[in-house]
């Protein structure tokens, strides 16, 4: 089976570790070989956190520059920063709600323009699916559900060899009971928004 390489970048605290572990569980349910690696520790204090997931054949658990098939960015400037992981065939999913790093507030850097950012990503990759995951998460009932919105959007890339049903099943088993409904709604909203974006 071909290998599919997915990179998820986020800011520490955005819940990307839960999103990737749900996707991993879903792959296990689908009987698809899956491996991943993540960075824990200091980066979780508001730094950049990256998960690499590999579906299908192969043994490696990391993804080299230029070799991601799908890039999912939980924060627009981080999506842009991770562009080095992509090639012209990569499909990119990004959140459009910025979390400017603190360096911007203290005058050490300028946050990139969102329109320009999308234009750049579009020009360099195969496809960009951009959604305001924060807005959709609010609609779902919690700003913390940004991760599930983006997970839903990721399933619209058509590249992840796992069915949306299995992802939902994994959400039901991995997420705390009280939050399952909100998370499922968020997933659906992301899934629908990305479909609209795609067509």
């Amino acid at each position: 089976m071909n290998t599919t390489r997915l990179i998820i970048v986020a800011v520490g605290g955005q819940g990307n570790l839960l999103a990737s572990s749900i996707l991993g569980e879903a792959a296990l349910l689908s009987n698809i070989p899956v491996r991943m690696s993540e960075i824990h520790g200091m980066a979780q204090r508001g730094g950049v956190v990256e998960s690499a997931m590999l579906f299908g054949d192969g043994a490696s658990t990391v993804i080299s520059d230029g070799e991601a098939d799908v890039l999912v960015g939980f924060e627009p400037s981080e999506t842009l920063r991770a562009l080095k992981k992509c090639n012209k065939d990569t499909v990119v999913v990004t959140n459009l709600a910025p979390l400017p790093p603190f360096t911007v507030a203290i005058g050490r850097g300028v946050y990139p323009d969102l329109a320009k950012l999308q234009e750049l990503i579009r020009a360099k990759t195969k496809k960009l699916i951009a959604v305001d995951a924060l807005e959709l998460a609010k609609q779902a009932g919690s700003t913390l559900a940004v991760n599930m919105v983006l997970l839903g959007a990721t399933m619209q890339t058509g590249k992840i060899p796992v069915s949306p049903e299995n992802v939902k099943e994994a959400i039901r088993t991995k997420v705390k009971k009280a939050f399952v409904d909100i998370n499922l709604t968020a997933f659906e909203l992301g899934f629908a928004a990305a479909l609209a974006e795609r067509s």
Partner: protein, 616 residues
């Protein structure tokens, strides 16, 4: 029930490497575990700690790695299976007992997990701890995947009992923090009571005994070497006249690289999982069947140098390379493309590497370094000390924990750091070597870990310095583990003692001790000023719960703050505190209510009193 205990034999689970290691130890019937947490090893200890409350396993968070090594050693000398786990630099702290433990050996299986951190994702160096196996003369095992880690740790206990020595189980971040599908095995019952048979000639390494014990160790090492020669963890796959010797995660990159390059029929791979003692004969016969050999290992040329020696002994002159310009580096971690390229270059396979994307038109993206959390009490402490020391020419030795992030602007409160506890020892040195005011920072857990001896030293030698102990009631950086100063009732755990930092500091005779609450800014500045005036050793204990811990304990009930119309844009809040809850909107400071914890430090420093609580 804990998920790693509940899982039935034969079940497949998607587990983190560290969870797989913890499960492997449980399957092996681990009786005693002890650890000081450290990334990337921490989740092993967290899981064992949780499981110990629901099973016969005894687990403790020890005060430091040296003590945890000794706890595990005594258990193993009493015939129990024991394990200690630490980050790579933790083994430096535990090296003293380990090197003599190798002389006296063990009875029950004992596994020492070293979690190395190539690339230094969360560490101050990237030392290669395989050398500790060689230095101590004990077996070293290295898994290549999460699944293998579980089975190998189980085997490590058997090996330890067979050889009578502790086994060093060496992992790297990409094992510890990788996740993979693991098939569970059955759990052996725990033998919980050991028996220590007195035998001073064996257990007490007086010189007269140690001379015999060294002979014993070398004999055991010889036996380990024989086991390594036929170990299933050292295996050859593929065929061809090109050879690759590799270990750990490098093996995965080699396998994928060989497949990507389409040279399967031409390459033999020797995967080394039992890496000390290396299987000399196996390696020599591998070399004899090759025209040229590439050694692929992250870190130091540990295998490469040995392989070259083995070749020389066998009279083999084929080219053997690994760490060399244009091939592989001693720096940082590897990745699949890097290894693929090295394989292609060394064997002369034509290959078009992926061209890096042209990013020349991408604007510079602002850096996003990790930062102290919103509401972190350390930020308040740093601000207070900075204000109190205004006008003084001070050096700030810092220490290891979240508060090392005080290095970042606008706080900029970290001038020197070596290792756990170095803020004290180095503070003593700076106080003699310079005429500056010395103000050292250390966290509560690090203070217990290795700060106390430095403090005793400072008092005895009468150094002129101020020590600020940042007591946030937990071991925050590694994931909120307890330490001897922690109030265990907050965690609903009973049966623990409690060590008061005040009592400890006064008990060793600190002549000036004061405790501050850093969220009360003005009062704290006054108290710190007084401490800084003191000639000799003064200690400030700055006590306020870690905001992440408070959240975890659901104690985060304070009202959040907002910036009112009174703001006229001094920006002191942003420019002096650097709290990530702040952001700029149309050039004006704003507070993100989702991040604000209500610590109110900003409200106290705003000259216009413009920062006010949000009314419900």
């Amino acid at each position: 029930m804990h998920k790693l205990l509940a899982g039935q034999s034969g079940r497949k689970m998607f587990l983190l490497g560290n969870e797989a290691i913890a499960r492997g130890a449980v399957e092996a019937g681990l009786a005693v575990g002890a650890a000081y947490p450290g990334t990337p090893s921490s989740e092993i200890s967290n899981n064992l700690f949780e499981m110990s409350r629901e099973s016969d396993l005894y687990f403790e968070f020890s005060v430091n790695e040296k003590v945890s090594m000794e706890v595990a050693a005594a258990a193993a000398s009493s015939g129990l299976r024991s394990m200690t786990m630490m980050k790579h630099v933790g083994l430096n702290v535990a090296a003293d007992p380990l090197l003599t433990l190798a002389y006296v050996g063990v009875k029950g299986g004992m596994v020492v997990v070293s979690a190395d951190d190539p690339q230094m994702f969360s560490s101050q160096n990237e030392q290669d701890n395989r050398y500790y196996g060689k230095l101590a003369g004990i077996p070293v095992l290295e898994p290549s995947s999460v699944e293998e880690a579980k089975d190998m740790v189980r085997y490590a206990f058997e090996l330890s009992e067979q050889v009578g020595e502790p086994v060093l189980f060496r992992t790297t971040t990409r094992i510890n923090h990788s996740t993979g599908v693991v098939t569970l095995g059955d759990v052996q019952p725990v033998k919980t009571r050991g028996e220590f048979v007195k035998e001073p000639s064996r257990w007490v390494p007086l010189p007269v005994n140690a001379r015999n014990l060294h002979v014993r160790l070398l004999k055991n090492l010889e036996e380990a070497k024989n086991i390594s020669e036929t170990s299933p963890y050292n295996f050859t796959e593929g065929s061809g006249a090109w050879g690759i010797i590799c270990n750990g995660v490098s093996y995965n990159y080699v396998r994928d690289g060989v497949a990507d390059l389409g040279i399967e029929g031409r390459v033999k791979i020797l995967r080394i999982g039992f890496s000390h003692p290396l299987p000399e004969k196996m390696i020599q016969s591998f070399l004899a069947g090759c025209e040229r050999v590439l050694v692929v290992e992250e870190g130091e040329p540990f295998m490469e140098e040995a392989v070259k020696v083995f070749a020389q002994e066998a009279g083999l002159t084929l080219p053997i390379k690994g760490k060399a310009p244009g091939l592989l580096s001693r720096l940082y971690e590897f990745d699949p493309a890097m290894v693929r390229q090295a394989v292609a270059t060394f064997f002369g396979v034509s290959h078009a590497p992926v061209r890096p994307m042209d990013l020349s038109d991408v604007p510079e993206i602002p850096q996003r370094p990790p930062n102290l959390c919103a509401g972190c009490s350390h930020r308040a402490s740093f601000y207070i000390v900075k204000k109190a020391a205004e006008g003084m020419d001070a050096i700030y030795p810092n220490d290891i924990g979240c508060y090392t992030l005080g290095i970042l602007p606008p706080l900029s409160m970290a001038d020197y750091l070596l290792c756990m506890g170095s803020s004290l020892g180095a503070g003593c040195g700076f106080s003699k070597a310079t005429d500056k005011k010395i103000i050292s920072f250390i966290g509560d857990s690090t203070f217990f870990h290795s700060g106390l001896p430095g403090l005793v030293n400072a008092i005895f030698n009468n150094h002129n310095m101020t020590l600020v102990i940042l007591d946030n009631g937990t071991t925050a950086m590694t994931g909120l583990q307890p330490n001897p100063g922690v109030d265990m009732s907050r965690l609903n755990l009973s049966g623990y003692g409690h060590v008061s930092i005040e009592d400890a500091v006064r008990g060793v005779g600190a002549p000036f001790v004061t405790t501050i609450q850093p969220l009360k800014v003005a009062k704290s500045i006054e108290a710190v000023k007084e401490a800084l005036q003191f000639k000799g050793v003064s200690v400030v204990i700055s006590r306020e719960i870690c905001s992440l811990y408070a959240k975890a304990l659901k104690l985060d009930t304070k009202r959040v703050f907002r910036i009112s119309a009174k703001c006229i844009g001094h920006r002191n809040c942003i420019d002096e505190l650097g709290c990530p809850a702040f952001f700029l909107k149309d050039g004006k400071a704003q507070i993100d209510p989702g991040l604000c914890t209500g610590c109110a430090v900003c409200a106290q420093i705003c000259p216009e009193n413009a920062i006010i609580p949000v009314k419900d």
